[in-house]
Amino acid sequence: MADDVRVPITCDLDIVQARQKGRQLAADAGFTSGDQTVIAAAISEIARNILMYARAGEMTLSVVANGERHALEVVARDEGPGIRDVERAMQDGYSTSGGLGLGLPGARRLMDDFEVASSLGKGTTVTMRKWKRSNV
């Protein structure tokens, strides 16, 4: 299995880097081009959230397996202020930054698994996975 890809997120160019690396990893792992786009879009939203709220962080992209099934996993970590109300942040249109408020809920719709662990003052970790469809 391919090695983990680590992408620091410190400026807007890193958002582009992260989604391109995610797309490449997904392509190498045999995801359809539709799924590659979906993964890239989710990475873009989550990477932007890191920049917007925590100013800096890191994304780790990898291919994980569960028996025969493979998924592309994205772990986005930051040591920012954390999310006060995760449940609310997962709702469409809720934003504390003046953005569209679609980042977290949008990315959750794009991916299959989506988990947010956040603690105030310590940071946020978003883990999301897209499973490869076996019959395509």
Binding site: I15, T37, A41, S44, L102, A107
Partner: protein
């Protein structure tokens, strides 16, 4: 990476060639809004065929371009959204409400020509007169 903007008749055509950062997108917005005035353009086409992802920032910036250009008297058409990109946009909950779209450059030009010929009314006439009154 700066996006080249071509002038063709009354129209400006911005053809995105590669992935854009947020700063590139903002720069494109400023450049287009300024050039609508400089070239007295009546139409703007933004060709996004080369974009492999449209996230919330890109969509918001395209919408801003269209609304700002309209306030300066020009109609904008976004052309070339790829099928996978459209799928991901819908999943993300992103819409281009109030912004014209067309399949490709050819259709976009045809749309603007029809608009100029007065065969499509995108907004009430009185509003158009105010907008064009620069």
């Amino acid at each position: 990476m700066e996006v080249p903007i071509l002038k063709q008749g009354d129209y400006l055509i911005a053809s995105i060639q590669s992935a854009l950062t947020d700063a590139d997108l903002s720069q494109l917005r400023e450049a287009l809004v300024e050039r609508v005035g400089r070239f007295r353009a009546r139409g703007v086409i933004v060709d996004v065929t080369a974009l492999d992802v449209m996230d919330s920032f890109a969509v918001r910036t395209l919408r801003d371009i269209a609304h700002m250009a309209r306030l300066r008297g020009a109609e904008t058409v976004i052309v070339g959204i790829q099928p996978e990109v459209a799928f991901a946009m819908v999943q993300l909950g992103l819409t281009l409400k109030g912004v014209a779209t067309a399949l490709d450059l050819e259709e976009g030009l045809a749309f603007l020509d029809r608009l100029k010929g007065g065969r499509i009314d995108v907004q009430p006439r009185a509003q158009r007169r105010i907008d064009h009154g620069r």
